[in-house]
């Protein structure tokens, strides 16, 4: 078994894209589109997601939500993607994409609904209307994303598809098959690997023999790029470039965002069983939110008062979403039968009648759901 060469992956590599380093210093000129407002907006979003994430874990621990996959420490990956995507691009997530989805109009309430076990969380509106729902089986979303890209290209629509996958997912067939197709058919597909170093308990070094995940692009004949996944500017920049390239018909890109999973895999996991606490505290040193905060402070674009105000604001937003989630009326008992086919067939209608006889219809509440 390979030794955990975690530091190897997180060392600053010459070809890894970075703008704001782990100490909060800009190491190169920021892109034109990244102005102070952009940075404050990104910062705000990461803080919001972290607050939601913390609350969601707490809800699970108190039995008010089912298993939840925290994105703690990975907020920059999702935020960078969401800031780079255009409205008409299409997002095909895996299951740890809260940050991107919420930038595309999926509500905090819907995030809670999905992990609370309520399919209504998948009824996206607005910008996310054509986005796919999150995907539990590992890597399947990659093939779906390739299909969506085929659809866009077929219709001559000059937009692109972004899909995400974890480091563990890159071992699965769908990953290779989809990238291969993207290469040979030159699909407008941007794939972002959230390399948070862990596939449940399996460290990145045990997942594959390659030095990076980005280099797997070579096998597909497409461009591969590695970025510092804790630098929201770097993620944004790489995705934005890749999207532009894709929309121009110049093909697909594989982006590896190197980050660290500061939380357990999900609330059902206990990471202390397989990783050292010291490694985790070390990773906290270069987490994404703190480093951007440092930069904003240092460049006089932030202060403690604004910080407090922001924290209160996001907490309110989260609390409102939680209240809505906790108070929502349950679905009708036959809702899970009504969407199996477009129209219920005879047998299912009989079964529905049986079910309703047993459970009856709920009283409609004021929310009308």
């Amino acid at each position: 078994m390979k030794e955990n060469s975690m530091t190897d992956n997180l060392d600053q590599q010459a070809d890894r894209i970075s703008f704001i380093d782990r100490d909060g210093n800009a190491v190169r000129e920021l892109p034109d589109t990244v102005d102070v407002d952009w940075l404050r907006q990104s910062y705000r979003h990461m803080v919001l997601i972290r607050a939601l994430d913390k609350k969601a874990v707490a809800l699970q621990r108190t039995g008010q939500m089912s298993t939840y996959p925290s994105c703690l420490g990975q907020e920059a990956v999702g935020t960078g993607i969401g800031m780079a995507m255009q409205d008409e691009d299409i997002f095909v997530p895996y299951y740890r994409d809260q940050a991107t989805q919420t930038l595309r109009g999926v509500t905090l309430h819907q995030i809670l609904q999905t992990w609370g076990g309520d399919e209504r969380g998948n009824v996206f509106e607005g910008v996310a209307k054509k986005d796919l729902p999150l995907c539990i089986p590992i890597a399947n979303q990659m093939s779906h994303a390739a299909g969506v890209a085929v659809a866009l290209k077929s219709r001559g629509i000059r937009q692109a598809v972004v899909t995400t996958i974890g480091d563990g997912g890159t071992s699965r067939g769908d990953f290779y098959e989809s990238l291969n197709l993207a290469g040979v058919w030159q699909l407008p597909l941007v794939t972002v690997i959230n390399n948070n170093q862990w596939a449940i308990s399996v460290p990145r070094s045990s997942q594959t023999g390659t030095r990076t995940l980005a280099q797997k692009a070579v096998a597909a004949g497409i461009e591969g790029v590695q970025v510092d996944g804790n630098d929201v500017v770097a993620v944004y920049h790489a995705v934005e470039q890749a999207l532009h390239k894709a929309r121009c018909g110049k093909g697909s890109t594989l982006i590896e965002a190197v980050t660290y999973r500061l939380s357990d895999h999900t609330t059902a996991d206990d990471a202390t069983r397989y990783r050292e606490a010291s490694q985790v505290s070390q990773a906290w040193e270069y987490e994404p939110v703190k480093r951007l905060q440092t930069w904003l402070h240092a460049n006089k674009h932030w202060d403690p008062d604004r910080e407090q105000a922001l924290l209160r604001e996001v907490q309110q937003e989260v609390d409102d979403a939680v209240a809505a989630y906790l108070q929502q009326a349950p679905q009708q008992p036959d809702d899970f039968m009504r969407y199996v086919y477009e129209e219920m067939n005879h047998s299912l209608q009989e079964q529905r009648a049986e079910l309703l006889e047993k459970h009856g219809r709920q009283k409609e509440d004021s929310h009308g759901t």
Binding site: N122, K130, H144, G147, V150, F336
Partner: protein, 348 residues
């Protein structure tokens, strides 16, 4: 646009492109071709994809001439990856396209099961109707052509067990045309299994009128009052032969082609059993856990009081299909069907 434009000559993909709406004398596989052509002419969202479907016209020629008529953007020769074929079909379908994917043989569909079961069949339910999956997967299935291992599968029952998926099996050129058109127009995913043994067995006159036949409905092929024979796919052929022979002995069998094996139209079958009081189900698939078992259970639930004898099944054995030398020991025959009918008529 480079969805891999083929540079090599298309001479093998030539077809006689005929005007729409004419009548054709066709075999079952030619009827499939006719339906695909009609669907592609009528709906620009219909895209064909699969291995060898474009330039080669499909290994059974089911997609012959389509690439020549519709071009490389609508008839896609994919890399060799069944899971991917099903997966991208899901993605395309969620965006409003109507992909008609071919899996070259049912024996190679198993890599695609994850996408069919986990996603195609669940996308509408998962998103409460926001997204849906109007895709068709076509696959030649069934044995009797002396092919190597894995080319003679009849595992339709596996797929019938998946809620959210339809499984449709034609048994004649006319019905292949009509059912495939309906499958392509259906808003939900359909697995369209084509019994390859009878691909070229029979020729029928088919009107290319774009009219689909209803899904979720059985077809009564022959009326009779003595016994109900239920079958689907290639076995319908043997069942009709058995009925003809029985008629010469004064036994009139009612023959029902199930066609859509999931969701089942039990009403037609029950109605017939109430009339005849006897039923034999004929399936090429293995005995245990097949569609015959489901139909038998439902008859027992809904028409027990009308039965004069137990419901019998004529089936393959609970084994993989033997290699070609012993294939004949596996496939149910006309004699097997007649024996089962006689036993049933002897009473309880």
């Amino acid at each position: 646009m480079a969805l891999k434009e083929e540079k090599s000559s298309d001479k093998h993909a030539k077809s006689k492109i005929e005007p729409a709406g004419s009548t054709h004398v066709v075999t079952l596989v030619e009827a499939v071709n006719l339906a695909l052509r009609r669907a592609m002419r009528d709906s620009p969202e219909v895209i064909i994809l699969g291995e060898d479907v474009g330039l080669n016209g499909g290994v059974f020629r089911a997609t012959e001439g389509l690439k020549a008529e519709f071009g490389y953007k609508r008839v896609l020769d994919t890399p060799l990856a069944e899971s991917l074929i099903a997966g991208i079909s899901v993605g395309m379908a969620t965006q409003g396209m109507r992909p008609v994917a071919e899996i070259q043989f049912m024996g190679f569909i198993y890599a695609a099961v994850e996408h069919i079961l986990c996603h195609a069949a669940r996308m509408r339910n998962r998103t409460r109707g926001r997204l849906s999956c109007p895709m068709v997967i076509r696959a030649p299935f069934g044995g009797g052509i002396h092919a190597p291992e894995h080319h003679s599968e009849s595992t339709e029952a596996m797929f019938a067990h998946i809620p959210g998926l339809r499984v449709v099996i034609p048994s004649s050129p006319t019905r292949a045309y009509g059912l495939l058109l309906s499958a392509i127009q259906d808003p939900d995913p359909v697995l369209f299994l084509e019994p390859k043994r009878i691909y070229r067995m029979v020729r029928q006159q088919v009107e290319d009128d774009g009219q689909g036949l209803p899904l979720d409905t059985c077809f009564t092929l022959r009326q009779g009052q003595d016994i109900t024979l239920v079958s689907w796919g290639a076995m319908v052929h043997e069942t009709l032969l058995a009925a003809k022979q029985l008629a010469s002995e004064g036994i009139e069998a009612e023959v029902i082609d199930v066609a859509t094996i999931s969701p089942l139209d039990m009403e037609t079958i029950i109605q017939s059993v109430e009339k005849t009081g006897r039923c034999v189900i004929i399936q090429e698939a293995a005995r245990s856990g097949g569609i015959g078992s489901e139909i038998s259970a439902r008859i027992s639930e809904e028409a027990l009081l009308y039965l004069q004898a137990p419901v019998r099944r004529v089936t393959g054995w609970d084994t993989p299909m033997p290699y070609p030398k012993n294939e004949h020991l596996y496939m149910p025959s006309v004699e097997d069907i007649i024996d089962a009918v006689r036993t049933t008529l002897e009473g309880v």
